[in-house]
Each structure stands twice: as C-alpha cells, then as structure tokens.
C-alpha cells in the first residue's frame, strides 16, 4: 500500500438519491467535496471544528458535521443534504414550519438545523421539547434565540 503522494481517491457515493463517481483529494472534507466538487452549496461552512453544526449532513441516516468527515470516507455511503429535503410537490414539512414560525433570520445555520431536525423526526416523529433541544445542541444560531426553531420543529412533529 503506497502512501507517498497525497493522490486522489476514487469514490462512488449516493448524494440525495443520485449516484456520483468522484476523484477527491485524500485530505478534502466532505463539506468541501459537496460544495466545490458537486456544487451543492446549501451545506454551509461555519466553525470548521465541530461546534456549530452549520455543515450538518446525514451519512447513512446519521447526522454528522461534514467539516469533520473526509470526502474519501463516504465511498459506498448515502449522503443527504438540505438540497434533498424538498420534493417537486413542495417544501419538506420542516422547511414549511421554519418559514411559518420565522425560525431563521440570517439563514446561515438553517440548512444545518433542517438536516439535523430531519434526522430526529425521521426516527422519532413526536419528540418532547427537551428532546428537541438536546438533539439540536450541536447546532448554533446567533440570531433567533432558538425558541422559534424549537417551535418550528414541534410544528413539523406529528
């Protein structure tokens, strides 16, 4: 196994249901892979150290900070981003609820909150307020004070 040059890694990955074949530099984050190689800029860069959750995506159904995942690691995996949430028929119920509850101001944290909240509701359709707040502790918002976000997630719950 040679490791002399930081060569590119060949991966096949499914992003929002669509298969992609890519050559990624070994050190490129999943965040940069999505934004720069695929052109999916909905996923935002925030702190780049795992505190803010702005870059949250789902990998095989688990939410992760895409700044702390390498693109090379998602070979054979399913990645879901905010771009995959709405359907041709309309917004995802969480997106609709965020609009109705005014759960965003500047919007930079919103894609991360939406993907994280979807990760919760996909597995627990009716979480308590405490559970929602605990689940979203890895996402920071400097505008809303969180109440509106929590209300929006509650509204989208069944």
């Amino acid at each position: 196994m040679t490791t002399n040059s930081p060569s590119k890694v060949h991966i096949t990955t499914t992003i929002n249901g669509q298969q992609h074949e890519l050559l990624v530099p070994g050190y490129m984050s999943l965040l940069d892979t999505l934004r720069e190689l695929i052109g999916l800029t909905g996923t935002k860069e925030g702190c780049l150290d795992g505190n803010c959750g702005a870059c949250t995506v789902s990998v095989d159904g688990r939410i992760v900070d895409s700044c702390l995942v390498l693109g090379a690691e998602v070979d054979g995996k399913e990645v879901d981003t905010v771009e995959g949430m709405a359907s041709p028929d309309g917004l995802h119920p969480l997106q609709q609820a965020f609009l109705e509850e005014a759960a965003l101001q500047c919007g930079i944290c919103t894609p991360g909150f939406l993907v994280a909240a979807k990760g919760l509701l996909d597995n627990e359709p009716s979480p308590s307020e405490d559970r929602i707040r605990h689940w979203l502790a890895g996402n920071l918002c400097r505008c809303t004070g969180y109440d509106k976000i929590v209300r929006a997630v509650q509204k989208a719950s069944s």
């Binding site: 930081p6 050190y27 939410i63």
Partner: protein, 289 residues
C-alpha cells in the same frame, strides 16, 4: 492543512505497517472529530491518515459472559444505543452519551477519546472505574495496557511508533455492583468538563457494605486519574454518609488541577469532592438495582 494521503486498510497488519512507515506523520482516523480539527489547525502535519473503519475487528462491539469489547473505531452512538450495554454498563453510557452533540456522537468513539488523551475525556473515567484494558497491536506484536496507564500526558499516550489501539475490553461487572460518571460544565450540553468523576462500586449481597470501589477523575490533572486511595478506602466499610464523605475527601486529595479559563484549582478540587459523593450514591443506587 498539510495535504495528506487517505489510506483505508482492511486489516490491522496493513494499518500498522502504514503507521510504522510514517511515524508521527501518520495518524489513525476513526471519528475524526479531534484528528481533523488538529490537522486543520496544523497541530499535526500529516502525510497520511489511516482510516480504521474498514477493519472489521476495530468496528466490532460485543458483549458476553466475559465482558464487553468495544472496537477502537466504534462510535459513541452505537455504544449508548446498545440495550445490553445500557443494562450492564450504565457508567459507560453516562460518558459516551455526553461527548459533544449528536453529530459528534455519530462519529466519535471511546477508542478515539482514549487516544486523543485529553485530561477532560468524558469517556475515560468510567472505563478506568470499570477496570478496562486497552488492546494494542503494533510492529512487534500485541500488548495490553490498563486504561488508567494509557495516557501519559495531555495528548500523549503509551502508543509507540506503528502501534494502533484495536479495542477496549471491559470485564463483566461483579454481582451487586454499580457505576456512574458525571462532569460539571457551566452549560447544559456541548462543553468540556471543568471536572469529571467516574466511580464503580461492588457491594455485599445485602447492599450494606462496600466490597471494593474504584474512583477516576477527569480534568483535574495532566491525564485522567485513578484515585486509588479513595477507592480502596471504601473496601469493607459500611455504606453510609461517613464512608462516602471520607472517600470523597481522598478523591479531592488525588486531584491536581490547574487554574485555566474553565475553572480554578480550588473550584475543581471542590467539584471533585462533591461529584465523587454524588456518583458514589448514584452507583450504590444502581448496585442495589
């Protein structure tokens, strides 16, 4: 970030040979939640990262009559979602479920927590309290190290060139035993411990006397600390407030914290005493079932 190669071996021996070839310019990649932060901050200049998640034995999680085996790459979420671990090792769950937020727990594991060797590693005190052992493979074969001896300083471990942590082995807890871990942080979530305490107690069959105890501390020294005297002081003692207070006081003596942005020496020592008392009571409650 220094450009590095991504290597994804399928066996321990391949991983060991790549690590040995590059020395401290290669690191194993499990959850990446510390590694990629350090690489990006140029704390480490790496030529290669060795993703261990394609090595089956590093991803295995098994529990049987002998105990619990946690592969070094297993993320926290798999540990705390495991029903048998919840029942038999609640102290492990206490630690694994408070490391970072949900996004971090999807990736970060107890193996990485151990190898990152932060004095504040929330996963470590409970492992020490449960008498866990780290299994290591390297160019010269395999060896085992008690978890309390694994970290040798902040970000420093016993791992030598080419060595790889493969799993953490936790013996089956004795009957009438219980364990618990908690930390103090000024926020509700997503913070680094100002002080943390993990304990394990084994009681007699009536739950009235301590047979043995182990107490371990986080964030109050250069490494997580086994407060041996504090734990040993409980052997043979009745389960009462006096025994607990005396052990908590000894745990406080074992702490050697520094003053930094998160807390002062005095506050941290005080916290160790208070948290030791609370965790002993919690572990006793769990031991009594």
């Amino acid at each position: 970030m220094h450009p590095f190669a991504y290597v994804a071996p399928k066996t321990v021996s391949e991983a060991v040979s790549v690590l040995a070839e590059h020395g401290d310019r290669a690191r194993p990649l499990a959850g990446g939640t510390d590694l990629l932060v350090k690489a990006r901050a140029n704390v480490w200049d790496l030529d290669a990262v060795v993703d261990v998640k394609n090595i089956p034995e590093l991803m295995s999680l098994s529990i049987n009559g002998a105990g619990l085996s946690i592969g070094a790459g297993v993320p926290c979420c798999q540990v705390y979602e495991h029903k048998d671990i919840q029942e038999q090792y609640p102290g492990i769950i206490d630690g694994a479920s408070i490391i970072g937020g949900i996004q971090i727990q999807s990736r970060a594991g107890l193996g990485g927590n151990l190898c990152n060797a932060a004095p504040s590693g929330d996963g470590i005190p409970a492992l020490i309290a449960y008498s866990a052992v780290a299994k290591i493979s390297g160019p010269n074969g395999n060896r085992e190290v008690a978890v309390e001896d694994f970290a040798t300083g902040p970000s420093r471990t016993v791992l030598e060139n080419g060595e790889l942590l493969t799993s953490i082995e936790i013996p089956k807890p004795a009957a009438n035993s219980g364990a618990a871990y908690t930390r103090f942080i000024p926020r509700n979530e997503m913070d680094i411990a100002v002080a943390g305490v993990g304990v394990f107690v084994q009681l007699d069959s009536e739950g009235k006397k301590f047979e043995s105890a182990r107490i371990a501390l986080a964030s109050v020294g250069p490494t997580p600390i086994l407060a041996q005297k504090a734990g040993d002081s409980l052997a043979g003692k009745p389960v009462n407030d006096e025994s607990i207070a005396s052990a908590a006081s000894l745990a406080k003596d074992a702490a050697s914290p520094i003053t930094d942005m998160r807390g002062t020496v005095d506050q941290r020592k005080h916290l160790v005493e208070v948290l030791t008392g609370r965790m002993l009571n919690q572990a006793i409650e769990r031991a009594r079932g």
